[in-house]
Homo-oligomer: 256 residues x 2
């Protein structure tokens, strides 16, 4: 399915007004079914939807590797059905329990226990110059953003450069797509870093912790909760990586 | 509750490296209870949380005005309890039905019917210069963004200037906060416009349609689904409003 649509717009620049065509990013509903039951709907850019589904189900703790997946197919356009080896019954129960757990008050304190996040162990080190030149390569790669201005990008990299790269209208979806690619390709992430154009909020830090990636680099800002998670999980968190500058918020030992 | 936190970071600028303190934006869980039952948790910047709760419950179609609200109070920090005149039972059922409805396939076609969106009727007109100068005022107002680089802003304006202004880590929350303020102050929105720093995705367009605001102006890009909604609901949608430029995607009749 196409990720870009051409539309007619009125373009105003100071005193001039022109009727022109312009490219805008496509947003579609992706319906995910697990074991033939409806599981979730995501609003997304409809490319790499198999990868997005895999990454999303990993983040949801429905799967931990492709070994648990019997089949995954697009039934009709933008409707993905995943068949698992295991019964989903107890996972739906777990999901429900977590959701209602949010209402019990002290989630801020209990979040690490509830989520069962473990420290990330990888200790690969990167130089400041390596990080900044990867960020430059990353920024140049965003085709959808260049054409529409409406996409976030994510990539997984090591010192050889960008390994996986994805774009989506949603920060989370772009990350789920590259996580999905890593799971499909069975690559080891504990010496990699991931780059994002988006802010690092708690959910982004949680996804990084779950997949075990030790370094997050963002073009943008972090939140305090993301920083707490990064510190608890031994994650190196870098924000505002732009040009020659960057801020290291945690895990300085991995940056030389 | 504070929206900004001071943390220690390592700031790298070309060859220099400094240990400094820096401001980062606070992200907290807001738990919303309706009629003493847990309803939802939002990740947000913890200011204006009463307004956020009201705006969120409006968007969820739990309330349509303050007449339906008996009381709203913060039970413990970041836990808001709303007591309604009506029983919530059937609304919970409706919510459940809508969620599972997403799995039925053709939501792209049915979305307007399911959401019961009506065309927005207001026909106030604004000049290009009015819109661009309001955008300039709006951009200058973002205190949290200036201090942390991690906030989105939303405002509701008319030709007298900015009426309500809010910031949050989330695009949706910032909009819900200004919608909440409009509901609390019972102001008529059908001659107003709303401004956002964030992308205009379908959910933002849906919120504008529900509250009946005729003009959306964004610093950023729209998606194709948001544009479809704007066209169906007679909403004027403007993107990339920056400096002297802007793109009008729909509803050109309101811009003179």
């Amino acid at each position: 399915m196409k990720s870009i649509k051409t539309v007619h717009i009125t373009k105003i620049n100071a005193a001039t007004e022109q009727e022109v065509t312009d490219e805008i990013i496509v947003e579609k509903i992706l319906n995910i079914f697990v074991n033939r039951n409806f599981y979730a709907s995501l609003m997304c850019t409809p490319n790499e939807i198999i990868e997005l589904t895999i990454g999303f189900l990993f983040a949801e703790e429905i799967i931990s590797s492709m070994k648990e997946v019997v089949s995954i197919e697009e039934l009709i356009e933008n409707n993905i059905c995943v068949i698992l080896k295991k019964d989903l019954e107890k996972d739906f129960e777990k999901r429900k329990a977590f959701t209602s757990g949010c209402g019990k008050g002290s989630i801020d304190l209990d979040i690490f226990e509830e989520l069962n996040l473990k420290p990330v162990e990888g200790n690969a080190k990167y130089s400041v110059n390596e990080v900044l030149s990867m960020m430059k390569e990353f920024n140049n790669k965003s085709q959808l953003f260049k054409e529409t201005g409406g996409a976030h990008s994510c990539s997984i990299c090591d010192r050889t450069g960008i390994i996986f790269f994805s774009e989506d209208i949603g920060r989370h979806n772009a990350l789920d797509k590259v996580i999905g690619k890593s799971i499909l390709d069975k690559i080891n992430l504990n010496d990699k870093l991931f780059m994002t154009t988006g802010r690092i909020s708690s959910d982004i830090a949680i996804k990084a912790a779950k997949i075990g990636i030790p370094i997050i680099v963002s073009h943008s800002a972090p939140t305090d909760m993301a920083l707490d998670i990064a510190k608890s999980c031994n994650i190196t968190m870098i924000g505002f990586a732009r040009g020659n500058r960057m801020n290291i918020y945690s895990g300085e030992h991995r940056i030389i």
